[in-house]
Structure formats: structure tokens, C-alpha cells
Symmetry: C2
Subunit: 213 residues, 2 copies
């Protein structure tokens, strides 16, 4: 694979993966950068550049082999191997993530749920019993966990992130409305729902304004 992949390309890769899976399901075997671009609302030149960037290649006048490119992007995304995932904070968002079937289909398996609320401990969510947050450290010391989903209030998230990382969690998917810091080599991706909704509010407030000023 080519060296540096920019954040912008990384963010587009799952979209490629989704469209290529759909094309495969539709029985399409070959696709040109132009047709793929029309489908994804990207320029053909952008498509060629992105795909080149992750080591995929097409043939002049022929395009990309859909299955091969889908497999390539699957590998680049690290989706060939399964991922174990724990959920910390089983409120509305935490339990939605725990029950979201698509993640399992894609190899992300929720292996444990934790909450601080004694009223929740022992309850079942999608077949898994909620455990006490006090048991997180011993659990992590005994099990290898790839990803922790942080679905806690903002004021608890940073301390929890540090605990998780110090006990070996390899990546954090953060739903708390806070910018988490980890020192070292633990990637974090944030899902800031309130901020997403505020972005929509912005666009609603400013719709109809020229965007070529």
C-alpha cells in the first residue's frame, strides 16, 4: 500500500466499501471511475486518486473489478479480522449500540457491557448481562478487548478513557460530548451527536444563502 493516507481519504473509505458491497450484491462486476463517481457523488479523478492511494488499481477503458476492489478496501479498513468491543455506559446510546445488528455482521462483537448504576447491573441487553463498572479493570486484565465504546456523561469520560487504555483497550469509540485525550498510540473516533444536530441547525438557518460568495 502507498504510504500516507489523509484523514479525508480515510473518512471516504467506508463509503467506497458500502457502495462496492451494494454493487456486488447487484451483480455488477466492473465499474468505471466515472460511473462509481456518479453513484457516490464524487469526481472520477477523485475516485481514481483515492483508490490509488490505498493500493487499488483499475484498467484503462475497463475500470475496476468490483469484488477485488471491495476485498482490497475491506482489508485496508482492517475488517478482515473480527473486533471485540465492550460498552461502557448502558444508557440510551450505549444500549442502542449494544443492540445494533449491523455491527455484528461486520465483525464487531460486543462481548461485555458495564454501567455504574446498581439498578441496571444484572439486566440483560441483547443477551448480555450488564456488569458493574467496578469490574471493568479485572475484566480487561483477563480478556483482550479491541474497542471500548464510551457512552458516558462528559464529566466521567476522560477518567474512564484513561482506565480503559491503562488496562489494554486498543481503541476508543467515544459518544461523550467531550474531546478525549489519550497519550500514546490509542486511536479515538468521536460521534458527537449534539454537534451533528447543531450542524444541521446551521444549515437550516442558512439555507438558500449563496455558497459561491
Amino acid at each position: 500500500m502507498a504510504g500516507y493516507v489523509s484523514e479525508a481519504v480515510i473518512k471516504r473509505l467506508p463509503g467506497y466499501y458500502r457502495h462496492l458491497k451494494a454493487l456486488e450484491a447487484e451483480g455488477v462486476t466492473q465499474i468505471s471511475s466515472r460511473t462509481l463517481g456518479e453513484r457516490m457523488n464524487l469526481k472520477a479523478s477523485q475516485i481514481r486518486q483515492d483508490i490509488n492511494c490505498v493500493g487499488g488499481f483499475g484498467r484503462q477503458g475497463y475500470g475496476y473489478a468490483v469484488s477485488e476492489l471491495r476485498a482490497r478496501i475491506c482489508t485496508v479498513l482492517g475488517l478482515d479480522a473480527p473486533h471485540s468491543m465492550i460498552i461502557v455506559g448502558v444508557g440510551n446510546i450505549g444500549s442502542a449500540v449494544a443492540s445494533y445488528q449491523s455491527f455484528r455482521k461486520e465483525g464487531f462483537e460486543v462481548v461485555a457491557l458495564f454501567d455504574i448504576d446498581p439498578a441496571k447491573i444484572g439486566a440483560l441487553v441483547d443477551g448480555l448481562q450488564i456488569q458493574s463498572a467496578d469490574d471493568i479493570a479485572p475484566y480487561l486484565d483477563a480478556h483482550s478487548v479491541d474497542i471500548a465504546v464510551i457512552a458516558l456523561p462528559a464529566n466521567h469520560a476522560q477518567r474512564m478513557a484513561e482506565l480503559l487504555v491503562s488496562h489494554g483497550v486498543r481503541a476508543l469509540w467515544n459518544f461523550a460530548p467531550v474531546d478525549l485525550a489519550t497519550n500514546g498510540n490509542v486511536p479515538i473516533v468521536n460521534v458527537h451527536l449534539s454537534e451533528s444536530l447543531q450542524t444541521l441547525s446551521y444549515k437550516l438557518a442558512h439555507r438558500g444563502e449563496s455558497d459561491d460568495a
Copy 2:
């Protein structure tokens, strides 16, 4: 306000808003672009440019007045006025959004819930009764709705988006794993959870790789 605001700036505005609210709560009245930048992990020059872009201004050697700037960004984000919101699809994600208290605090009020599943219709979520999806069009004809949350399987989302828009919904917040198209002037913001998780998988697979190649 200055004219064109880029997509990148729009996406950063909610972060400014969040940090300025926190600063206000901490009793901070003035802040320099450098200190705000350290807090937000942005360069001071970026901060000044962003804030200038939305018509905020600081004073040389003094910085920004926190409350004033918070109020300015609140207005720019369109958060001065409340927004009405309906939820279409009351599965895991739809009910999590319906119950998420922060949205209400920020003026986004869920006014109706709809689902296609007869087993769900009539059930209460956070005090609201789930209505039949057949009642969406008459509901919209009788009520003004700012935002519809689409929390449906991918194969139903596009048709539903068209129905919602044709009955006057002004903006779409889409959780379905599909790129929705609306013709015309209806903004859409997507929350693609699977893609966010795949981005994390990418970063986990490639951690430790040089990113200055």
C-alpha cells in the same frame, strides 16, 4: 456575518459553542485565541480565522469576551429559536434519539414518533406515543416540523425522505446507511455509525504507521 462559511468551519462551530459554554460555566470571561486554541487543539491563527468568518471579533492583547462570543455562535448555529423534530423509525437508534435529554436542553423538541411495526404503535417512549407511519403525511399537513430523524433500514430511507420533504419537513437528520438525495433546498446531515466504526477500525489497523510520509 461574512459571506461564505466553508463546510470545515461549519463542522467546527459546534465545538466552539461547546467549549465556550464550558468556559462560561467555569466563570472565564475573557480568552485569547492562543488559550482557546490549546483547549480545542487548534492553532491560534485557525481560531482567529474561524471566528472572524462568523462575524465574531476579539481585541488585541485582550482576546474574546466569552459570553458575547458564545451568544454570537449560538445565533449563527440557529440555536436561538427552538426546533421541532419527529422521529421516523423507533428501533434502537430512533428510541435512543427520542430519549436523549441533551437535545431538548438545546431546544430540539421531539414532537412525534412514527413506526411501521404494528407491535410498536401505541407504545410510549419518553412520554410520547408511537404513531403509525401511515399517519406521517396527515401529521405533517397539520403541523410544522423542522427536522425529521430518519432511523430506518437503508431500503426504506430514500422513499421516506421524499415523503417527508414533500409534506414540508425542512431538514433531515439521517441515520440510515445510505446517501439520501433531496432535490431542492432541504439540508441533510448524515450520521453513519457503521462508517464511523470502520474509520476506527482503519486507525486501529494502521496505528503506529508514520503519518508524515
